[in-house]
Symmetry: C2
Subunit: 197 residues, 2 copies
């Protein structure tokens, strides 16, 4: 069975991707084999390129292909504001909304005593340095509204509150959200933060 | 943004895989970028190899890396029996059960007047040729228990019934199945095919 060993190994590797299991990995590989010229070869080439070139920005932790990412080097982005996110996926989500025009800082996780994740593991010292280096006036804490995310936000606020204006994302009813499906915490946050029409 | 164009293109290609959408493709690509040495490079290399070497067996339609697949060339498989399946995924499912020791024939779909799929598109003439070429005595029709699958099975049975013994997979209650969750058709098939204990 030596000749199908590569196919089996490919299925095993694909099954390790988040969101795929053994069954969906088999389906994906069969699909790719059927479209090997049109989809599989380009996908393999691109993956090769990205694996060789992708790296973390030394300044903000975003993923790019140079030591400094596109957002850090861009002269079209506003200076003075940093949006702090947990993860590159969160940065991508913010960018898709297209509203924020400043710079980012990717922590790479949240503080966790249980998992022994301290401030040094999260680029928090680097964030403090950037305030001076880049004349930052506002830091927007766009951390997830989870216990860990909010704990981390409080820690950062404690550290930096004397040096810079700190803000966080508004909490309330999501656009298109139905009250009936919202949890009690969201409803009470939205009620407390109610505003005149 | 030239440097992240490859990453965006990779996400777009991954999102075209069955079972993945834009969101899960982003998650998968981020996961791969984080593990680029351990997972992404091996995955890209394997994909490259498989894309270059995978092809359909000219005899049975299975996927392998030579003109004749491992099962067709193996001398450990029993001669005289062919199991007819719709798709390579079905062949893989049969092989995982490990019960069938004969050869296979992959149709590559089902007959469909609507989609203009005729017998020539499904390797049915080749199946008829194999009966003589390989001294086949039994053809097991392991087609899906769908309308299309059963229509195709009837067509093949009509064509070949004079030349060979034709059998199909038993229908009934799946192992571990609960009657309460089974459809009426399955229950009535299982009742009609009841057997003495």
């Amino acid at each position: 069975m030596s000749s199908t060993r590569d196919i089996d190994a490919l299925i095993d590797l694909m099954a390790k991707l988040p969101g795929l299991g053994p069954r969906s990995a088999r389906r994906a590989v069969l699909h790719l084999i059927r479209k090997r010229a049109l989809q599989m070869t380009p996908l393999a080439d691109l993956m090769q390129n990205v694996a060789a070139s992708a790296r973390e920005c030394v300044n903000c932790g975003n993923i790019g292909t140079a030591d400094l990412c596109d957002i850090c080097t861009s002269n079209k982005r506003a200076n003075g504001q940093i949006c702090v996110v947990e993860d590159v996926a969160d940065l991508w989500a913010m960018e898709r909304s297209g509203v924020f025009k400043g710079r980012y800082h990717v922590l790479g996780g949240t503080l966790s005593a249980l998992d022994a994740v301290g401030p040094e593991d999260l680029r928090i010292p680097r964030l403090a340095d950037r305030i001076g280096d880049e004349d930052i006036t506002e830091i927007i804490l766009a951390l997830n509204a989870t216990v860990d995310g909010q704990t981390t936000a409080h820690y950062i606020a404690d550290q930096l509150e004397d040096r810079v204006t700190l803000t966080s994302l508004a909490q309330g009813v999501p656009i298109g959200g139905e009250l009936d499906y919202l949890d009690d915490g969201t409803i009470s946050a939205a009620l407390n933060a109610r505003k005149p029409i």
